[in-house]
Subunit: 108 residues, 2 copies
Amino acid sequence: MIHATNIIGNKWAPIIIYVLEERKLRFGQLVVFVEGISRKVLTEQLKELEQKKVVKRESFAEVPPRVEYSLTEWGKELLPILSQLCTWGAGISIDSDDEKNITIQKRV
Amino acid sequence: MIHATNIIGNKWAPIIIYVLEERKLRFGQLVVFVEGISRKVLTEQLKELEQKKVVKRESFAEVPPRVEYSLTEWGKELLPILSQLCTWGAGISIDSDDEKNITIQKRV
DNA sequence: AAAAATGGTAACCTCGATGTAACTAATGGG
DNA sequence: CCCATTAGTTACATCGAGGTTACCATTTTT
């Protein structure tokens, strides 16, 4: 678990993975799709995810340069889990009494 | 997903949830089981998880005081997901060529 | 000559998460 | 009277993730 949370336990990684899904995206597209991320942080995150074998990077020596990012097979295995996490997170927590704080008074 | 990662996306929350599993634990036991956590941070995390309805807190007005923590039903639903995440994280990433960086030279 | 497009990098700053150490309240035991 | 126990709290210090701004290299377009 420590390993898994090291990978997805930061602000942007889950979003990047979710956005990449089954397609290839260029750096510039990722900046747009991952709303709010700065270019610097996106660079860092992609580097980290690449090093951890979750993301694959393909660089084309053209002008202007082109770089495509996609998920590795291992990275794609994360998608259904993230999906579950998403469903769970959206679950309304029922406000039934037995879920609320209970303070039991007990004199001894 | 944002919601879910807000909950489990910090250093200790997943570990606390994993340790609590199906049992009730006292504050002092948690300090021991969650190795390396400080009492202050444990307090904060438990408060946060309680507020987010993942953890249930029962306080007994005894001396010395006794407080028991356990997962709510909603929190327990997280266990299988964390388990999957753990399995995934343990997966060896195959070093096959198609998972490595590819630099395609292409003159235009 | 200058701007536009692409994929970055470097220097710097901010802020929240985390850690440390000392302190509290209440009571029983020696 | 002093210590131990339990579950914290308070006042700091630190550390690293993330953000901001400016800049680079290369070629085509205006």
